[in-house]
């Protein structure tokens, strides 16, 4: 029923577009950049000996599973990088190990101390801090001096595993409609620079390189430095990770989903109407909605489509991206077709809805279905009858988290119809039920035209 017509969205931690080097999949050709300014050269000179390349190797053989960048944040050898650079080690420490290499050719083993999956950050420490001693550490820019839009930012890292580099760009404020705070960096990040620092012209950390948009030019994203600083403060004394971190990741995702669900439920629906009733559409504070319609002059079923999804998603592993919501609907008009033909197409559209199957990460869906309608009461308008299918899937390795999908079709009219779908990924069971009820209650008969709204 729904087909995304928009450009591929590649955002924070969406495993599909991480700025992480995958030698087999070269990044798009960067746009022509002017050579670094004098300030850029100065920043790079001051920073290069505190930069490292972070490599994940398969234990037993030295082939690399992924490559990213990292930077020193303490004199004891603490380093910050992206979670997605080290996710293999966080989830399968028995099969992977981490090593660093510096611009001046020093190598050593790394230990994983802590992760922040929601912000896509990880804290590492050199197993032997001596080769990194005396290099100093990056400072974080204080929250008291907020950057101005257009301020220069210098992103550092090791793009595509070809050597350390500095990329100059502009600070453009926080990315709009992002649930997780993310800095919009007007510059070109390349794969492999993930986890590198983005510095102001005094060499202070403003953010951590994290992602780029494939469909844009010079549209990249940084994790705000404050999140990295918080992770460092929290995890600097932690013991190295030796067991898979599923329990900790589950805890972090649990906190994230609770915050997301509370904020989502606190928002009233915006509504749009069709066929005499209202259809729930989410606020666009941290969701982005796209619309489409049938081309003019069609002879068959006409429809209008709205597709709202969150840009912020949480990367857990190469096969699991979660922690986001989406709301969609299609409004159908089959008056040119007649009731029987409309019914056939309306059913076919309802049939064409995937809920996923059994995978290594998620169970197959289990569904509950029936007809739902809200009776009109003194306090509120009723809703049209909705054929409703509610399917849930459980996460195998993140116990207590579920995906919920709610599919509805309005049943009251013979040539007009609305089908909607709500999806939430990585939420608790109670929240899944709350969200489903919230969504179903978003449908209502339209208020009489003369009534005030």
């Amino acid at each position: 029923m729904f087909r995304l017509a928009m450009a591929v969205l590649c955002l924070v931690a969406s495993g599909l577009c991480r700025a992480q080097a995958q030698p087999a999949s070269p990044a798009p050709a960067p746009t022509a950049e002017p050579p670094p300014s004098a300030a850029g050269q100065r920043v790079y000179e001051g920073a290069r000996h505190r930069l490292v390349q972070v490599r994940t190797l398969l234990r037993g053989q030295d082939s690399q599973a992924s490559v990213g960048s990292g930077f020193l944040v303490s004199d004891e050898g603490h380093l910050v990088t992206n979670y997605h650079v080290v996710s293999d080690v966080a989830l399968q420490p028995q099969r992977h190990r981490l090593v660093y290499s510096t611009a001046d050719g020093r190598h050593g083993a790394l230990q994983l101390l802590a992760v922040d999956v929601v912000n896509d950050l990880a804290l590492l420490r050199a197993a032997d801090p001596r080769p990194l001693a005396g290099r100093g550490a990056f400072e974080f820019r204080s929250a008291d001096s907020p950057p101005g839009r257009g301020e220069r930012i210098f992103a550092l890292g090791n793009p595509l595993d070809v050597g350390f580099a500095v990329v100059e760009g502009a600070y453009n404020g926080l990315a709009e409609r992002s649930f997780t705070p993310t800095i919009f960096f007007g510059g070109s990040l390349s794969a492999g620079m993930s986890g590198g620092p983005a510095l102001d012209d005094q060499g202070r950390v403003m953010g951590v390189n994290v992602a780029t948009r494939r469909d844009g030019e010079q549209v990249s994203f940084l994790v705000p430095g404050a999140a990295a600083q918080a992770l460092f403060e929290r995890g600097r004394a932690a013991a190295p990770v030796t067991e898979p971190m599923y329990a900790e990741i589950t805890r972090q995702l649990g906190t994230h989903q609770q915050r997301l669900v509370e904020r989502f439920l606190a928002q009233p629906w915006r509504t749009t109407s069709h066929g005499g009733f209202e259809i729930p559409v989410p606020q666009e504070d941290y969701m982005r909605c796209w619309g489409s319609t049938t081309p003019p002059g069609g002879k068959g079923l006409e429809f209008e489509r709205s597709d709202c999804a969150m840009d912020s998603r949480v990367f857990v592993s190469h096969v699991l991206v979660t922690g986001h919501l989406s709301v969609r609907h299609e409004a159908y008009d089959g008056r040119r077709l007649g009731a029987l033909r409309f019914a056939q197409r309306y059913s076919a559209s309802f049939q064409n809805e995937p809920f996923g199957g059994k995978t290594t990460q998620l169970t197959a869906p289990a569904c509950h279905e029936g007809e739902v309608a809200r009776p009109a009461t003194a306090g509120g308008r009723g809703s049209p009858p909705l054929r409703t299918v509610m399917c849930l899937r459980a996460y195998r390795k993140l116990p207590g988290l579920y995906d919920v999908h709610v599919l509805v079709a309005a049943l009251d009219q013979s040539a007009l119809g609305v089908q909607g779908r709500f999806d939430a990924r990585g939420v608790s069971y109670d929240n899944a039920l709350r969200l489903a009820a919230h969504y179903l209650k978003g449908y209502a008969w339209q208020a009489p035209k003369n009534a005030s709204r």
Partner: protein
């Protein structure tokens, strides 16, 4: 003597397809069967001995099958009699004697006859014509619903010609099978069968589906697929019985067994995939507004009922996933 001329029995040599190849009147006992020219019933099977068997009465007039000097013996039902053995005729079912590769049947005077078998309803009968026309109308109606309002001849032509053509091909294939085994090209009989079971399939399936969606009973909806499979199995059984009339029992057992095995395999596969045992994941057909009889639930009550799915999901999550069915990325298709 007039009595000696009376027919005492009839010995029939039967082809593999059940037709009688050779008949021998028996007007006196004993009767010898074999390849020798002086046998009473002469067989041309190289796996038959010169004097393979003999049917003779004992002192009290009871008839016995006596096996002669043969290395292959005589198979009666599942039992094989070796040279020199004998068996009372009443214990030897008449139509299942095998001498070498030859089937022999002995019909005795006074045996009860099977009832006369009815002819299959001829295709020209009113019911068949009505069923065929109704089927065609259903196909055309379906096509009409699927087509856009101003669909032209290119859309309609296949719909008008296609189903009858498919039916002709289906019945012709079965009729050819009949020709092979029964030596009759029973096209009309197969058509009569096909029209009936196909109509039962389409109408029954629609009634189940529309009834289930009108009542909002997913359990009933799931029965549509097993019902269709059952009608199809019945249809194939009826066609096959027309082709192999003498093996009706074997065919019935085979079809039922195939249905049961197929169902068991599907259920097992669905269980392995964590899918519902039977039928689709959800009721994907929507009711027509005027046909709805289900009473809707309030959103809160509906959602609360989904709470019971948690135990199922948690049990599935605890089970180790099969690493073989490695999946794709669990994110939105882009």
């Amino acid at each position: 003597m007039a009595g000696a001329e009376e027919r005492l029995a009839l010995i029939e040599v039967i082809e593999r397809d059940g037709r009688v190849r050779q008949q021998c009147d028996v007007r006196r006992w004993p009767v010898t069967i074999g390849r020798a020219l002086d046998a009473d019933v002469v067989l041309d099977d190289p796996h038959v001995a010169a004097r393979h068997a003999c049917i003779a009465p004992d002192e009290v007039g009871r008839l016995w099958l006596e096996v002669g000097d043969t290395r292959n013996g005589v198979r009666v039902g599942r039992r094989t009699l070796a040279a020199g053995e004998r068996l009372a005729i009443e214990a030897a079912p008449a139509d299942t004697w095998h001498l070498g590769h030859t089937r022999v049947r002995v019909r005795l005077v006074g045996e009860p006859l099977a009832a006369e078998r009815a002819l299959v309803a001829p295709a020209g009968s009113g019911v068949t014509i009505a069923a065929s026309l109704l089927l065609w109308a259903l196909f055309l109606g379906e096509r009409w619903i699927e087509s856009d309002p101003d669909a032209g001849l290119p859309v309609w032509l296949p719909a008008v010609i296609g189903p009858p053509l498919a039916m002709v091909v289906w019945c012709a294939v079965w009729a050819l099978a009949s020709k092979l085994f029964q030596h009759r090209f029973e096209f009309a009989a197969h058509w009569a069968l096909a029209a009936r079971w196909l109509l039962a399939l389409m109408v029954g399936s629609s009634v189940i589906t529309q009834g289930a969606v009108a009542l909002a009973w997913p359990g009933l909806f799931r029965l549509a697929e097993p019902y269709e499979a059952a009608v199809l199995a019945c249809g194939i059984f009826l066609h096959a019985r027309l082709v192999l009339a003498s093996h009706a029992r074997t065919l019935a057992v085979s079809v039922v067994a195939a249905y049961a095995v197929g169902a068991a395999v599907l259920v097992a596969l669905n269980h392995q995939r964590e899918q519902p045992w039977v039928g689709p994941l959800y009721m994907h057909v929507l009711p027509l507004p005027h046909w709805r009889v289900a009473r809707p639930q309030a959103p809160e009550a509906f959602v609360e009922r989904a709470r019971s799915l948690k135990a199922t999901l948690d049990a599935r999550a605890r089970a180790e996933p099969d690493e073989a069915d490695t999946p794709v990325i669990d994110s939105e298709p882009e």
